[in-house]
């Protein structure tokens, strides 16, 4: 059944989790290249990392290091010219890269590199992925203006996500209202007024009454801050009044069985206002209601009017909230946030980060957070991966990263940020510039700039797992079996 909105500490009990030993996301030896006229750009070079359920993992690095490309690869949204040459991506037990050998072929013709795509294999991939993308895995982009469709209202865009992926959730909500009676609600109302109602208790009471679909709606009403107790009770008891006709009920049940897909005939019939009003219109209205709840969840002021507004009428912070609302609409297991605050002012950024932290607590989604700003990363992430020129050079817990950075690039990066409060001395800089990824240095890509490079560095450096959370890609710390080479 639909996952409830968890606003208390009982999150652990009600969420479905993959067993703790199995990571939510596992990326192994991912190699992504771009085929261009100038040559083959080796954007990602043997990236391997894991994410556990509910954890916030940050990717930090400078322009061109490949952090955005990693996120896109995980969502299988690599741009046209890019190809996953090898590697595996496992998400919640599904292999997203099972067919890459059939999907792409890179043909090398002397100096000319060409990319060949197998359309049928890609189509199959699309079918598989579209069930996951947007539902279990969602993304927040950097520029909310360009990622929101300017010709649709906010409400419509939010509803679209719900109508596509969470039809069963919507149907349950509607049907539950028809099943419940006033008496069953009275018990809940009394408990709430007395202050004894916790999420879990609500869940139990509803389960006994057979109306779990009401859980979200009741909980939302109870957690509203703008109306008083009297109004809240009134609204809860008026829920059963929003019944639906039996014809509609049958339609909804069928819809749920068909998992949201409706036959073409129906799409045409839908254009008739009568049909629309009693059948599909009901679900659309429900989606709009849920959108309203989502917007309130992301602390959007004037949520009702925002639903009817267009993206260009909103400010940057508000647009980003809409994006976040869309991302969490389907209660995804993984949210990928690609520089979500880089285009925002500092104070708005603080608001958004605070929101993300709150949502992290309530929903227990895993967040893959990408940023070039280490400060922002340190505000929200549990573990961090440092990327340089397509390689993942270090992974560590936040405290480990600052206390004991192992890789020379990490050390250089941290040293080049002015220390808050210390003045006067010149900053430490890293010599040189980021290498060209068409012809990167052989072996360790950082060796041309590394103050501690030595002869071995021209061979592929080993990945060393220093402890459970801390790993580094560098010859300075010994040798291992796992090497990263060209």
């Amino acid at each position: 059944m639909g996952l409830g909105m968890h606003l208390t500490q009982e999150a652990e009990l009600s969420i479905e989790q993959s067993s703790p030993s199995e990571p939510l996301l596992r990326v192994d030896n991912l190699r992504v290249s771009f085929v261009t006229r100038a040559g083959k750009i080796q954007a990602l070079n043997d990236i391997s990392f894991e994410m556990r359920a509910g954890e916030t993992f940050g990717f930090v690095g400078e322009t061109g290091c490949g952090k955005s490309q990693t996120a896109l690869a995980v969502m299988r949204l690599t741009p046209e010219a890019g190809v996953i040459e090898r590697g595996e991506i496992w998400f919640a037990g599904t292999n997203l890269t099972s067919n890459i050998s059939q999907e792409f072929k890179i043909i090398q013709h002397k100096n000319n590199v060409k990319l060949k795509r197998n359309k049928t294999a890609l189509k199959r991939l699309d079918q598989k992925i579209n069930e996951i993308r947007g539902k279990d895995m969602s993304m927040i982009f950097q520029e909310p203006m360009t990622s929101l469709n300017p010709v649709y209202t906010v409400g419509r865009q939010l509803s679209e996500t719900l109508l596509r992926h969470s039809v069963d959730l919507l149907v349950d909500r509607i049907l539950a209202r028809s099943d419940v009676t006033k008496e069953k609600l009275d018990g809940i109302i009394n408990a709430a007024t007395r202050g004894e109602l916790t999420q879990q208790k609500l869940h139990e009471m509803l389960q006994n009454a057979g109306c779990e679909g009401l859980e979200d709606q009741i909980w939302f009403i109870l957690s509203r801050k703008d109306i008083g107790v009297v109004q809240k009770n009134r609204r809860i008891s008026s829920l059963p009044e929003r019944k639906v006709k039996p014809l509609t009920t049958r339609f909804l049940v069928q819809l749920k069985k068909a998992n949201g897909k409706i036959p073409i005939l129906f799409v045409i019939l839908n254009k008739l206002p009568i049909v629309r009003k009693s059948l599909w219109g009901v679900i659309e209205k429900e989606a709009l209601d849920v959108s309203y709840e989502l917007l309130s969840l992301v602390n959007m002021p004037n949520a009702e009017s925002v639903l009817r507004q267009y993206p260009h009428e909103l400010s940057g912070g508000m647009r980003q909230r809409v994006m976040i609302a869309m991302a969490i609409a389907t209660r995804p297991k993984l949210v990928i946030a690609d520089e979500p605050t880089s285009a925002l002012d500092v104070t708005v950024q603080a608001q958004i980060l605070e929101l993300l932290r709150e949502l992290k607590r309530s929903f227990n989604s895993a967040i893959l957070f990408i940023s070039h700003d280490i400060g922002v990363i340190s505000e929200i992430c549990d573990r961090v991966g440092v990327m340089y020129a397509g390689n993942l050079v270090e992974v560590a817990r936040l405290d480990q990263l600052f206390a004991d950075p192992k890789h020379p690039y990490t050390q250089g990066l941290l040293a080049s940020i002015p220390k808050y409060g210390e003045k006067r001395e010149l900053l430490q800089t890293i010599e040189g510039a980021v290498p060209n990824l068409i012809d990167p240095p052989k072996g360790c890509r950082f060796r041309t700039r590394c103050p501690r490079a030595f002869e071995k560095c021209s061979l592929g450096p080993p990945w060393l797992q220093i402890d459970k959370d801390h790993g580094v890609l560098c010859w300075l710390y010994g040798d291992s079996e796992k090497h990263v080479d060209q």
């Binding site: 400078e62 322009t63 703008d226 109306i227 008083g228 107790v229 009297v230 109004q231 002021p301 400010s315 912070g317 508000m318 002012d345 500092v346 104070t347 708005v348 950024q349 603080a350 608001q351 980060l353 605070e354 070039h372 700003d373 280490i374 400060g375 922002v376 990363i377 340190s378 505000e379 936040l398 405290d399 990263l401 600052f402 206390a403 250089g412 990066l413 941290l414 080049s416 940020i417 002015p418 808050y420 409060g421 003045k423 010149l426 900053l427 430490q428 800089t429 890293i430 510039a433 980021v434």
Partner: protein
């Protein structure tokens, strides 16, 4: 007009060897808004509203604020790339002249001109401005001014003409000021580029062949071509990667020392500003809200906005537990900025004289009455209408008689709301009832408000906030103490 204490305070500082390089007072920039209607009331974006500033020789002044606060506009104004709606800027002004000027302005503020008599003071200020303000400069004086000032922009992509070679880009100001013969010009260009750390091979290339950091070096070299005294840096490193930023910041520091430059460092990146600046000005919605020495402001921020801004800065370290002040709302609309203190709608410490408008309070008031949070108010008659009757009053018409003790209940409810954190209601001064059997009218009067002005609070630390309002700032004392 905000009083010029900040600048006069310089007068006191100046008694030491430091001299003022550039000073501006009463600066206003209002951009007209095209409404598209033929006969509409003129609307203006109040981008910069009554700003005073000064920069001493060899000093780095940081200008911080978020988008829309006016810092970029101010930077361009100083270079006269845009025209001011009001105000004057003086380059290397004569000390006594400035004292006199500020004295006059201050006097005019406290004793505004009544026809005829006081006009001589106004005349005198105008004369001074005409003679010395950069906005009244003629062609020749402007050229000289342009030799003494320059700017480095934020975006390295659009600040260099993509069709020009690097050496020509740097040579442009030299050519414009007739620096010398062609050979001399190009020699100097090469020397400048070398001083900025750009390898010789790039001199004959196009901008798109260089990286972002290299392009910024070119921009810096161009800015230094005519050995200016003041360089305005408008977010010079915001578009660069962290490691490149470090290189460019180091370069700027080196050059500043070598050529004894003064910088106006405009940025929204507080960590960088703290690192680079000696003094800092915080702007919000077109006005300066705080001004002081960098370390002082960062360690003891006075203005609530500064406090929120500083607490919002993500600091790269593992200690994430920090007292964060999260502001609600967004940066205000500059066409119709909030009355009084422009920050009051978002200020966690706002109180009655901060400038609450009838609309803000009215909305809060009615929603409190209707919220249902106060069962004692359940017997209120239905609200028919709410009307703003004047600048400081509004009326709420209800259909029905208001029971006698209801007024007390309403007032109690308001108090509880205020205690819960509703700041707008703090502005309510009194509520009167005009009742009858059929209908009653509540007339709510608000406190009068004042616009805060930049006042000196501590040594070298000024803030524009009512929380720190003292009695009339002692300008005369400051001025006279300087003559000693």
């Amino acid at each position: 007009m905000a009083c010029c204490v900040g600048s006069t305070e310089t007068a006191r500082n100046m008694s030491t060897s430091e001299e003022i390089l550039i000073q501006g007072s009463g600066l206003k920039v209002y951009f007209p808004v095209k409404t598209g209607k033929l006969f509409a009331r003129a609307l203006y974006v109040h981008a910069v509203d009554d700003v005073n500033f000064f920069i001493k020789k060899g000093e780095v002044v940081g200008l911080v604020g978020e988008s829309g606060c006016g810092k970029t506009t101010l930077g361009r104004l100083i270079l006269r790339l845009i025209k001011p709606t009001n105000g004057a800027i003086f380059l290397e002004p004569d000390r006594d002249l400035m004292k006199r000027y500020l004295q006059l302005l201050n006097d005019l503020e406290h004793n505004p001109p009544r026809d005829g008599k006081q006009d001589e003071r106004l005349q005198e200020t105008k004369t001074i401005e005409k003679a010395h303000s950069i906005f009244k400069f003629g062609h020749k004086e402007m050229r000289k001014y342009r030799r003494n000032t320059h700017i480095v922009f934020q975006d390295p992509n659009s600040s260099l003409d993509p069709r020009m070679l690097i050496k020509d880009i740097v040579a442009e100001p030299l050519k414009a000021h007739h620096y010398g013969s062609k050979t001399e010009i190009y020699e100097r260009a090469a020397a400048l580029l070398a001083a900025c750390g750009l390898e010789a091979q790039y001199i004959n290339r196009f901008p798109h062949e260089l990286s972002g950091g290299q392009r910024q070096r070119v921009a810096v070299a161009r800015a230094l071509a005519m050995s200016p005294k003041l360089v305005i840096l408008d977010e010079p490193t915001s578009a660069l990667d962290v490691s490149v930023q470090a290189q460019v910041l180091n370069l700027l520091k080196k050059l500043k020392k070598e050529f004894n430059l003064s910088f106006l460092f405009i940025s929204h990146h507080l960590i960088v500003v703290r690192y680079m600046s000696d003094r800092i000005m915080v702007m919000y919605a077109g006005q300066v809200v705080e001004d002081g020495e960098t370390e002082e402001v960062f360690t003891n921020p006075l203005h609530p906005y500064t406090k929120a801004l500083l607490s919002a800065v993500p600091i790269p370290d593992a200690k994430t537990k920090r007292e964060r002040i999260i502001l609600e709302g967004e940066v205000p609309n500059l066409i119709e900025p909030p009355r009084g203190c422009r920050f009051h709608p978002r200020c966690p410490a706002a109180f009655e004289t901060c400038g609450w408008s009838t609309r803000e309070v009215k909305d809060s008031f009615t929603s409190t009455l209707l919220s249902g949070r106060y069962p004692t108010l359940s017997k209120l008659p239905a609200i028919e209408n709410e009307v703003e009757t004047s600048d400081l009053t509004f009326q709420v018409k209800m259909s029905g008689n208001l029971p006698p003790n209801e007024l007390a209940e309403i007032e109690k409810a308001i108090e509880t709301e205020v205690a819960r954190g509703n700041r707008a209601l703090k502005a309510i001064k009194e509520i009167k009832v005009d009742g009858s059997q059929v209908s009653s009218t509540l007339t709510v009067t608000l406190h009068a408000f004042k616009t805060p002005t930049l006042t000196l609070v501590k040594d070298h630390h000024s803030v524009a906030c009512h929380l720190y309002a003292q009695q009339e700032p002692q300008i005369m004392n400051l001025i006279t103490s300087n003559t000693a």
